[in-house]
């Protein structure tokens, strides 16, 4: 794996590499390089199987982190290509020309995070939630509980307990709650 | 006997046939349940279902043919009954011979298809795409069943030189060795095999199987229409059994004999259905075009030579 990363860093601006385990590595590259790196991995390094694509909301830094996970069926190794994009007006170059299933992932990300992929087929269509008009629902600043309370007629009288605290009180009522346990509660 | 008395006896016969059909249907499901290790429905469930269907308040219509579909189906069953001698009493104008006449075998063959065609028109007007698919499948299978069945009927007609069911029954009187089962074994074998398709139980029940995605013609029908179709189905089941009893197993001399014989005939198809899983339409069509059709040809050839 290290050899591959060394080889790749000659051509691509790899800012970070994490060796998770012998068969799994994550590399981080700037936004503009990501698609060309994925293409290179697919065409020359044997990472021909597209496993999945996902997104993490780094709200404190104002960024979205995109992950393209690829698999090499011959060496049985995985490589994840990570890249950061801006949270405001999030937009990323589309990879729909590499694998057809990328269409669906990009459609999902468009709906769930509001990331636009110009040129990706059917990217504007509804994916899972039909007729959604609010802020994209997987963004961390979307308060799902508040939305649910305002929209879905919560039944009055319902009590909600934190399962861990509730069970500890019920099973060990005499034991004082220590600092360590309190940490766990958070 | 006046025509009014005749009509009275015919209506009474229809009532008996309807209830016997319901009871047989319930017994069939009960046997299926017991084979699966379940307790199964109560034996009076079909009557409850009929009552429930009649008591449905909403009726939805898609046009005149939509109404007429279930009526046609019921007409097919009742027509089959009207021209079929039920119990042989020694005279063509007996109490339970209904309105059978010379050449009623041809009419009966027609009435077998009549209900199906009516349903095709009704379901077609319903506009549900699955109904049309179900009808297409049903008619395809029905055509495959009718071909060997008609050949066997013709063979029997040639054998006794008549198209009257009454005369065919009359010719089989005087002991079981005179039954067509023994005098014309090829025609009898054809009928016994093709009967499985005509009865419409598993393995040939894909057309009306409720668990298929396409439940077929009945998709759009509800309430009273469905009640009509259930009654028609019960009458048809009994009448098919009576037809085969008359043609192959020597008819019946009393209602008791009729009930015993139709029970056994009906349960021949039920027992086969309990053992064999459902056929696809193309499988069942090819099945009928193999052994039953060949036997039908043999039966015809032997009696035309």
């Amino acid at each position: 794996m290290k050899e591959l990363i060394n080889k790749l860093s000659k051509d691509f601006n790899i800012t970070d590499a994490v060796y998770q385990r012998p068969s799994l590595t994550f590399v981080t590259v700037p936004k503009g390089v990501a698609i060309s790196l994925v293409t290179d991995l697919r065409d020359y390094e044997g990472y021909s199987h597209f496993v999945m694509m996902s997104c993490v909301d780094w709200i404190e830094e104002g960024k979205f982190q995109l992950l393209y996970l690829l698999h090499n069926p011959e060496t049985k190794t995985d490589i994840g290509v990570k890249t950061f994009i801006d949270r405001e007006n999030a937009e990323m170059a589309s990879a729909h020309h590499l694998w057809k299933q990328v269409w669906t992932y990009q459609r999902e990300l468009k709906e769930a995070f509001g990331i636009d992929f110009p040129g990706s087929p059917r990217v504007d269509e509804d994916f899972v939630v039909e007729g959604w008009v609010e802020m994209p629902h997987m963004r961390r600043d979307f308060d799902t509980k508040e939305y649910s309370e305002n929209t879905y007629f919560p039944r009055p009288g319902r009590e909600t307990n934190d399962p861990a605290t509730y069970m500890r009180k019920k099973l060990y009522p005499n034991e004082p709650i220590t600092a360590k346990k309190q940490d766990n509660d958070k | 006997m006046t025509i009014y008395a005749k009509l009275g006896y015919t209506l009474l016969g229809l009532f008996i046939v309807l209830n016997w059909g319901f009871l047989m249907g319930a017994t069939f499901r009960k046997i299926g349940a017991r084979l699966a290790g379940r307790y199964g429905i109560p034996f009076y469930q079909p009557w409850l279902n009929l009552l429930k269907n009649i008591s449905i308040r909403t009726t939805i219509t898609h046009g005149i043919m939509y109404y007429i579909g279930p009526v046609f189906r019921l007409t097919g069953g009742v027509g089959l009954f009207l021209f079929m001698p039920m119990v042989f009493t020694g005279s063509p104008n007996g109490l339970w011979t209904n309105f059978s006449f010379e050449g009623d075998l041809i009419l009966i063959l027609y009435f077998q298809v009549f209900g199906m065609l009516g349903m095709a028109l009704g379901a077609g007007q319903g506009g549900h795409p699955y109904s049309a698919m179900g009808i297409a499948r049903g008619l395809a299978q029905h055509a495959a069943v009718e071909l060997p069945l008609t050949l066997a009927f013709l063979s029997i007609a040639i054998q006794f030189d008549t198209f009257s069911v009454y005369k065919i029954v009359e010719a089989q009187q005087g002991g079981f060795e005179n039954w067509i089962l023994f005098t014309n074994p090829f025609a009898a074998a054809t009928i016994i095999l093709a009967m499985l398709g005509a009865m419409g139980h598993s393995p040939f029940n894909l057309v009306k199987a409720p668990n298929e995605i396409l439940i077929g013609p009945a998709t759009e029908f509800e309430g009273t229409y469905l009640g009509f179709m259930q009654s028609a189905g019960s009458i048809l089941h009994v009448m098919e059994a009576v037809l085969f009893m008359n043609l192959v197993f020597g008819g019946a001399n009393s209602w008791i004999e009729l009930i015993v014989k139709t029970f056994l005939i009906y349960f021949w198809s039920v027992f086969v259905g309990m053992v064999f899983p459902r056929f696809k339409i193309e499988q069942s069509v090819t099945w009928f075009f193999k052994v039953p059709l060949l036997l039908g040809f043999l039966a015809i050839i032997i009696y035309s030579l």
């Binding site: 008009v133 649910s148 879905y152 | 429905i41």
Partner: protein
């Protein structure tokens, strides 16, 4: 064609596509279902509105029960022959198949499954109900002939259950369609479902299974609640 004509045509096309895009943003109706003018086979131009042309748009009306003994007799028949629609909405739908197995065997109580809404009386809302599914449930419920009954299975239909804070699942089913019997639990066992059927039978025999009429009576209220959460209402108001 002169250059000006060409420009005009391009501008016109651009404008049309812009209006199309704007329309698509505003409404969720599929282009095939939009109200528009079409050329009939005989050459005349006719206006069509597929959603209202294909479906009946009449409000449901209350259907009066028969009187006295007759209604009691019919109610007995209805209670003893409950036909359930085979429609699973959430995790609870896995509790329904055991009912036809030898261990639970709902057939002995006259409960049977039907594959089409036209032939069924009872509808089991089995578990959490997302807004997307609610849309299908409403369409199916309205297609069932009255009298019709709803069994709500699991805590999710009562107060949201463990999905009480989800953005896509509803909290209270009875705000959107009238419910006859609630079966509490997460998940209720098949025995609980059978007990629910027994309760439903009691209710029907007492003449209390008239929720379809209640739906017709409070139709506007139910419709308003449904439309509040189904933002892409691209079907007729009442479809049967």
């Amino acid at each position: 064609m002169s250059e000006k004509d060409m420009n005009d045509k391009v501008n016109e096309m651009l404008q049309r596509s812009e209006t199309n895009v704007k329309k698509a943003e505003k409404t969720f109706i599929h282009p095939e279902d939009e109200e528009r003018e079409v050329v009939a086979p005989d050459g005349s131009i006719i206006k069509i509105n597929p959603i209202y042309d294909y479906f009946s748009n009449e409000k449901p009306t209350e259907e009066k029960p028969c009187s006295g003994v007759i209604e009691k007799f019919l109610n007995w028949a209805r209670a003893e022959s409950i036909w359930v629609l085979g429609f699973g909405t959430g995790c609870g739908s896995i509790e329904i198949p055991p009912l036809v197995t030898p261990r639970f065997d709902m057939f002995r109580f006259g409960v049977q499954m039907r594959p089409t809404p036209r032939q069924s009386n009872a509808f089991i809302i089995s578990g959490y109900l997302s807004v997307k599914t609610l849309k299908r449930v409403i369409r199916t419920y309205e297609q069932m002939p009255s009298p019709k009954y709803i069994l709500a299975l699991g805590s999710c239909t009562i107060n949201g259950g463990m999905y009480y804070d989800s953005y896509s699942t509803i909290n209270r089913l009875d705000k959107y369609i009238p419910v006859d019997v609630y079966i509490a639990g997460c998940m209720p066992r098949p025995e609980a479902l059978l007990a629910g059927f027994m309760k439903l039978k009691e209710l029907i025999k007492e003449g209390k299974g008239e929720k379809a009429n209640e739906y017709a009576r409070n139709f506007d209220e139910y419709k308003a609640n449904q439309k509040k959460i189904i933002k892409d209402w691209n079907m007729p108001d009442y479809n049967w």
